[in-house]
Amino acid sequence: MSWQALVLSVKLAVIVSVVLFVIGMPIAYWTAYSRWRWKFLVESVVALPLVLPPTVLGFYLLVAMGPRSPLGRLWLRAFGHSLSFTFEGLVVASIIYSLPITVQPFAAAFRSVDQQLVQASATLGVARLRTFARVIVPLSYAGIITGMVLSFAHTLGEFGVVLMVGGNIPGVTRTVSIDIYDQVQSLNYSVANQTALVLLLASFLTLSVVYAVNRKVWAL
């Protein structure tokens, strides 16, 4: 059983869900409340990684990170090395991959907040950001936790995109799903089984948390 790969995956998933929390909140707020006519286009772009095959996403990312794309060259000039086959590259890829699964529960929760409360806060002269922090967020905690946990679990189980842009470097880009795949390919079924079982239990646990929070099993 490969602990190195497991630790790497958990590290990746934690970083990705924290970053997604930070960038997902404003995006979700905007998609929940904006009245812009073409909003649906932005919503479609955000949701794209849900329907695109990971191979397509991974292939685009690989090309985009490469030295022949303007983005890849820009990154190379700024940081002196390419983004492909690095841990940072995986972080960027996973953020894009898990964006919809985080933003959508956030936005759904924001949308379901009673607008009268938001308006009451506004009439009392409270600024919008403060209203967001003091009224909307506390009333949306279940959706926010759902989004966070899902982004964590989604990143933990990510395979196709990592396979396409990671390059399978031990301790850097060899995540647990890649490790399991390698073990199966090498016919080490028993090792693969052990790691897969750990991943299965971890996923079950995270999903249980989501459903428990949504059912309000614990009063928060």
Partner: protein, 257 residues
Amino acid sequence: MKILRPCVLVLIALVARSAQAGEITVAAASDLTFALTEIAQRFEKTTGNKVRLSFGSSGNFFAQIQNGARFDIFFSADVEYPRKLVAGGLAIGSTLQLYGVGRIVLWAPAGSPLDVGKMGMKALLDPSVEKIAIANPAHAPYGRAAKAALENLKLYDQVHSKLVLGENISQTAQFVESGNAQIGILALSLARAPTLKDKGRYWEIPIDSYPRIEQAAVIPTAARDQQVARAFLEYLRTPEAQAILRDYGFQAPPEKP
């Protein structure tokens, strides 16, 4: 009712036709993508049978066949997989046939400053090389060969921190072709393939620096159409098919499997 009769006749004709010409599903290692497609087309033309080709990693197909996938022929990049199937009673031992020996090459994209033809293996040590793509030695036959060659030529320790591993040899090619890795060790058959031929330069790695990549085909016991499958393997021995294999860089196999 008037329209029914011609419909039935057409249907009967179709059924009769398909009964006459067989159809086989072939699982093949991805290094055969181009050579086998060409061979299959000619086979279809001369015999009227249909060949459905499915390319992927030998290890994957091996696992699929073990778990009940019904392929008519399995072309493996490594003779070990077919041998294991035969040993497990999942493939017909008498049909095991070596069809070629794979070769590995050093490959760099056309625009690269690395002239692999001149530099040979020294190209790997060039300061401009940040990443070297090879197939995963843990399960890909070409990866095993690449690693062995690096070790035998006393380069492995110097380059191993730069290695990135492709899941199979085609993905390895993708890593280099896209420019994400500056150089890679690929199958000669891919370097000569139409899609890569004009996109880079290659240098053949000395064949004595790695164990022979013996490639073999076998008919699984669960094959649906053994007759056509055997005919296809027979066709593979013809000079016509052999010439295509040689063209793509598969050396003639040793006589005995």
